[in-house]
Amino acid sequence: MEAEFGGTQYSNGKTFKMPSKLKDYLKALVPMSGGKDTPVSDQANVEGNQVGSWHFSLNYKLKGWNLRAYYEHYFEDHSMLVMQYPWKDGMLGFEITPPKNPVVSGVVYEYIGSKDQSGPVYWDHDNVINEQISARDNYYNHGFYTGWQHWGQAIGNPLFTSPIYNSNGQIAFTNNRIIAHHLGISGKPTNEIKYRVLLSHSDNWGTYCMPFKDVKQNTSALVELTYAPAKMKGWSFTTSGAMDRGSLLGDNTGGMITIRKIGLLTK
């Protein structure tokens, strides 16, 4: 589990300083409700922005092959931590590491779904409708903090559209309901040359509160080739090309050349 806590909120000309005493550090480690010096929502729930994920992994080794299947379940609140609601969201991955060969050294496939978020309804029971539904988890966003991001970039999941892409300056995730597939292949044809090919495709629905009018697609690809000459110990040269295609991020194409030296430059 991870937490954002403490700090100062600047909103509409007002400031609100969150407590950061020793007990608040402890509450970041063991989630507990906030004191009177925290926002009302933190007093009713837990102090700070607490998120976490369950990780399950299964490895199987067979005659030089290594096969791994894994499942990760992300949660933003207590109800999804303890399976109070069905676990419809999650990431499922398969990783294959074949015996040493000149063609492929590793293959990974990942599926991620975050459309459900406990469900589409949020309702605190009252005298009119006596039902409690704590859904619409709104992944990566938070009512007090600016969400699970750093300098506008999503932490952990690059497929939720990062706030830095918002054209209106809003610091919030505008797209966290997605279904995506990712395929990665790497290889080392010779001792001096290695390559990497990555391909991702996502369907994107926006958020429950601000859904897109239509589902937006995005396909991203990266091809990367690295040359590390044996004569030049510690040096490597990488060239890569990448592109985005689709209605989510638009059509973008880019390239990069990397010259890397490991160790001291003088040796």
Binding site: F56, L58, S79, M83, Q84, Y85, P86, W87, G119, P120, V121, W123, V128, I129, E131, I133, A135, W205, Y208, P211, K213, V215
Partner: protein
């Protein structure tokens, strides 16, 4: 190996024992209202109006935010919107806060509801 099976059984049992498990089958979820066909042969293509269905509740989103309950049995659906007037729900293809629908079609992707007032076509969103 036994430990793995025990773990998987516990996991399966935990997942299937959700206190708030889905109870409405394909009806559960966020539905985008695509078309309203009125009895007088006129129709509307709404701009981002949604029915959200979960457990015993339905919430309307896009125009006036309305919340209510529903009952679903076979191919009939009865929606009861609370604390709102008929005018608030008219954008959503209803002419009263209590409306009975015939479910013409329901799948994981599409839904068509029919009332005495209008025929509503949805897609799962």
């Amino acid at each position: 190996m036994k430990k793995i099976y025990i773990f998987l059984l516990i996991l399966l049992a935990s997942i299937t024992s959700c206190q708030k498990a889905s109870i409405n089958g394909d009806l559960d979820g966020m539905w985008q209202l695509m078309k309203i066909e009125y009895k007088d042969q006129t129709f509307k293509s709404p701009d981002q109006l949604y029915y959200c269905v979960q457990l015993h509740m339905v919430q309307f989103q896009g125009a006036a935010m309305c919340s209510g309950t529903f009952s679903h049995s076979g191919d009939s659906l009865r929606v009861v919107i609370r604390n709102h007037k008929a005018a608030d729900v008219s954008a959503y293809g209803m002419n009263d806060t209590i409306q009975s629908f015939f479910i013409e079609k329901l799948s994981s992707e599409k839904m068509v509801l029919h009332s005495s007032f209008a025929r509503l076509s949805f897609r799962k969103f």
